[in-house]
Symmetry: C2
Subunit: 184 residues, 2 copies
């Protein structure tokens, strides 16, 4: 799974060659097919792995630094994605790829929608901690906008249309806007 995430981040979902994956994992292609039914099976498993891992490292990162207030935690979580480190780049790239692939591969959609929902709810909860008086629908809407924006900015960054620092600023600005909106 780790090897698959690396290869997808390097070549894209549609550039993923089972042979390259096998080499990356240090095994033969036959062994890949022993463990997974086919190419799509590999992709589905990798998507689950990636979304789990993203969640994991987000919370771990939180535990690392100094304890943050609710707003700080929200910002951390959303801005974490805009860092040019190998892990972040790898996760963002692979996530974006899986999202884009799902447009053409219906088998991926269900898992993707579920993972998206979990993520949106996590952000909605953080927003609720900053703005405790907000209604659930408003929180959900803000969370959906923020996470969709994050995906949009992220692919612009990765596709060379937007410098990383600028993406960060735009994201920070959006957080401000949404918090202002929730404050009434």
């Amino acid at each position: 799974m780790e090897a698959a995430a690396r290869v997808i981040a390097r070549r894209g979902v549609r550039g993923l060659r089972v042979e390259e994956l096998a080499a990356e994992a240090g095994v033969s292609t036959a062994l890949i097919y022993y463990h997974f039914k086919d190419r799509t099976g590999i992709l589905r498993a990798t998507m689950e792995f990636i979304s789990d891992r993203a969640e994991r490292y987000t919370t771990e990162r939180q535990a690392d630094g100094p304890p943050l207030d609710a707003r700080g935690e929200l910002e951390q979580t959303l801005l974490l994605e805009f860092q040019d480190t190998p892990e972040v780049r790898e996760n963002s790239t692979a996530w974006g790829e899986l999202r884009a692939s799902a447009v053409f591969e219906p088998e991926l959609r269900e898992d993707l929608a579920r993972a998206t929902l979990v993520w949106v709810q996590e952000i909605a909860e953080l927003l609720g901690q900053v703005r405790p008086m907000s209604g659930a629908a408003a929180l959900a809407g803000s969370a959906e906008r923020l996470t969709a924006l994050l995906e949009g900015l992220s692919v612009r960054w990765l596709s060379g249309s937007l410098p990383l620092a600028h993406a960060r600023e735009l994201m920070a600005g959006a957080i401000d806007s949404e918090l202002a909106r929730l404050a009434g």
Copy 2:
């Protein structure tokens, strides 16, 4: 070019088979290679075609309906993308694909960044008509957020993670937020 846009919308950039494109255009594959150097050449030309066409039909749509005030025009322009008509779906899908592909195909990046910039500036100008007292940097920032959000919502819609009507509402909400922010 029209055939290419259709095939990309149907199969994705990475699912585009030169043979299928040729069939769609009613010509032989050899003729495709007579007109374009290689697969990448096809993609670049198609991207330009798609972004030109999107711009064209946005302004035409405007001319169609009743004359709108500045805000109405802004909303029209941004919400137009969330309609389940063949043309819109085709353009959105193809645009999203080209964006996603550019992450792995550096040859596409320059054209893509240019087209993105044109689009952002168009939105910034519309925003400026609604909020004439705003500074250029603030307008640009809002335009970048709105267009990036549009791309993010659009791919969520197309990948089955977000119903179309909901995407529209979220987009409309973001326009509100950005206008409020620009109003100070």
